[in-house]
């Protein structure tokens, strides 16, 4: 078991290193410059050269790469050209927002998805199952950002139930210092998290329904029914516990989905998370920020996969890993 963990951990680290290398060289092919966009010719050449030297852009590529790698290992991700502050500071502002959004969406995704999946399996091939199945298929086919816009239109513009964007009220609640302001944050979170969560739940429900049906066909379920247990107990205790196992795989798959969806949903709702930061930074050709967000996103996905694998092994005693 320990050997397996060490091997998986090493593989994960290797993947993240490869990602750092890839993004670094990709971005450097761009030749973005601290002097701004190409049309900004107003910056004097000597100022430009000084800025380039200040950011180390006049050094050979391999030296920049080595320096970058060394710095990344120490948690230094460079300076943002656009925000004129360390990239890590910009990320520290953005990452909690993304984690809050994606985390809430994950909770919605799995609670709603599991509940719907169990309900559909219980009423398999009847009206409720088919209607929900088709609805899930439709939601799953929508562009996430478009669903966000539709919800925005209905709940913010027409019904005025929730704010149209941002993470908090900038006037009343710039700091999180009262219960009212906590409520304000949750209020702003409601729509983006629902958008992201519902789209995920559509996929989770479909998966969970099939997992439940597979388990419900097994002998021990018939035994449980034959013992005279109530259907509710058979479903929720006997079947669901076994049907939850495959969902752990889904948990690992949810990470890339949530991060990708978060990029677009953050843009719709002006939610200053990593996706929003990345898109803004691209407009400014601020490549240290773009590299860093791609790197952090990849690290999160790799970590998520590792976590899902470990959970799966821990949860299912039938799985024996080689070298355990």
């Amino acid at each position: 078991m320990t050997a397996w963990i060490v091997r998986r951990l090493a593989a994960s680290i290797a993947i993240v290193l490869a990602v750092v290398t890839l993004t670094f060289f990709l971005i450097h092919l761009a030749g973005g410059s601290p002097c701004g966009q190409s049309d900004a010719q107003s910056v004097a050449p000597e100022v430009c050269a000084r800025l380039r030297a200040q950011f180390g852009l006049d050094r050979p590529l391999w030296e920049q790469y080595g320096k970058y790698l060394w710095a990344v290992l120490h948690g230094e991700l460079g300076q943002s050209f656009w925000q004129r502050r360390p990239v890590i500071a910009a990320l520290q502002d953005a990452l909690p927002n993304t984690l809050l959004l994606a985390g809430t969406a994950l909770v919605i995704d799995f609670t709603l998805g599991l509940a719907l999946g169990v309900y559909q399996a219980a009423r398999a091939r009847r009206f409720g199952d088919i209607a929900l199945g088709n609805a899930a298929l439709f939601v799953n086919s929508m562009p996430t950002f478009w669903l966000g816009l539709v919800l925005l239109l209905v709940f913010a513009q027409w019904l005025h139930l929730v704010p149209v964007g941002g993470t908090h009220d900038p006037v009343l609640c710039s700091r999180l210092d009262s219960l009212q302001c906590v409520a304000d944050r949750l209020w702003h979170l409601a729509l983006p998290a629902t958008t992201l969560g519902v789209v995920g739940a559509a996929a989770t429900a479909r998966f969970q329904r099939n997992a439940m049906l597979e388990v419900l066909a097994q002998d021990f379920v018939r035994t449980a029914r034959a013992k005279g247990l109530r259907e509710r107990r058979v479903l929720l205790v006997h079947a669901l516990r076994n049907a939850l196992l495959p969902s752990i795989t889904l948990f690992g798959l949810a990470f890339p989905f949530l991060l990708t969806g978060a990029v677009l949903v953050e843009w719709v709702f002006a939610w200053p998370g990593m996706g929003w930061l990345s898109v803004m930074a691209i407009g400014q050709r601020d490549y240290p920020v773009v590299t860093a967000t791609a790197l952090v996103a990849s690290a999160m996905v790799t970590l998520g996969n590792l976590l899902a694998d470990a959970l799966y092994v821990a949860a299912d005693p039938r799985i024996r890993v080689r070298g355990a």
Partner: protein
């Protein structure tokens, strides 16, 4: 809209229905399994309709996609007989742009998928057939590719150029989307390469390239077709997302993604500009998923799920 364009639209609808019915009538044993799926036929009709729109766009669209009719008096008009889906903030006819947008959205989706599937099949076949170090190297590459969320890769790469031309965009989306297919093909090839007909081909002196492309890959077409059909939908969603962020199809050209972005600022007062393109994407992607599911059941009966 004139009588001619209404007739053309009706013609497209009829043609889509005829294609659906005709396909069903001519179906062989595999086709019958395909049409046993309740959503297969409607999905096929929806796809046929949108493909017709894309191909016959100049006939069906009442106005050119770039035409600003009257920015002062005809901007943000609600749907009417003259403008069935309303007009956008620049007074362009949304229906015309939607029809021409089908060309961009469907074209980019299918071409990018073609790139992805070709690369994925080639890489998967090489890795699975040769095993040892090519397999190890290629599959580690795939691991890395799957670890980076695709949209971040594309954001990084798109940032390299100020403006990405359409062929490059198609290539980029394709080249970041082959990882899953390559794993699938590799798994198939790993088992196929042990079969007698491959040994026979080798014994006759066929070189690896010939064995792979003439004997092994043709036997993996079923999973490749299924993964392509299911993949086009996600590629279209990705293209829509990129165009929405302003880094996909450049703005005056209509893609369903950037049409949504153009209506965003007027969402409260003129929601039709953003709503209809999104509806079109959802319909097409849903149809693609339905057809893909049915194809999977028809081509890989042993993988059928409840």
């Amino acid at each position: 809209m004139t009588v001619g364009t209404w007739l053309a639209l009706a013609g497209a609808l009829v043609l889509a229905l005829v294609v659906g019915a005709e396909a069903r009538r001519a179906a062989g044993p595999v086709g019958r399994r395909f049409f046993r799926h309740p959503t297969a036929a409607p999905g096929l009709v929806v796809l046929a309709f949108f493909v017709t729109l894309a191909l016959a766009a100049p006939v069906i669209a009442p106005y050119p996609w770039y035409l600003q009719l009257d920015p002062v008096h005809l901007a943000n008009q609600p749907p009417s007989w003259r403008f069935p889906l309303g007009t956008d903030p620049l007074s362009r006819d949304v229906w015309s742009r939607l029809v021409f947008g089908a060309r961009f959205s469907l074209g980019i989706g299918s071409l990018a998928m073609l790139v992805a599937v070709s690369v994925g099949a080639a890489v998967g076949a090489v890795a699975g057939y040769f095993r040892r170090w090519p397999d190890a190297v290629l599959m580690r590459l795939v691991d890395v590719g799957l670890a980076i969320p695709r949209i971040f890769v594309l954001l990084v790469i798109v940032a390299l150029w100020d403006r990405v031309s359409l062929p490059v965009l198609v290539l980029l989306i394709g080249l970041t989307g082959w990882f899953g297919t390559s794993r699938l093909v590799r798994a198939e090839v790993l088992s196929l390469r042990e079969r007698e007909f491959v040994a026979a081909a080798r014994a006759l002196g066929a070189r690896p390239g010939r064995v792979i492309f003439r004997h092994v890959l043709p036997n993996t077409t079923a999973p490749i077709i299924v993964s392509a059909a299911l993949g086009i939908g996600s590629v279209m969603l990705l293209e829509a997302g990129l165009s929405y962020l302003g880094i996909g199809v450049p703005s005056p050209k209509p893609s369903w993604g950037n049409m949504i972005a153009e209506g965003q600022d007027r969402l409260a007062s003129a929601p039709w500009t953003s709503l209809f393109p999104g509806l079109a994407i959802s319909l097409v992607v849903m149809a693609l998923n339905a057809v893909g599911d049915a194809l999977r059941d028809a081509l890989d009966p042993h993988k059928e799920v409840a």
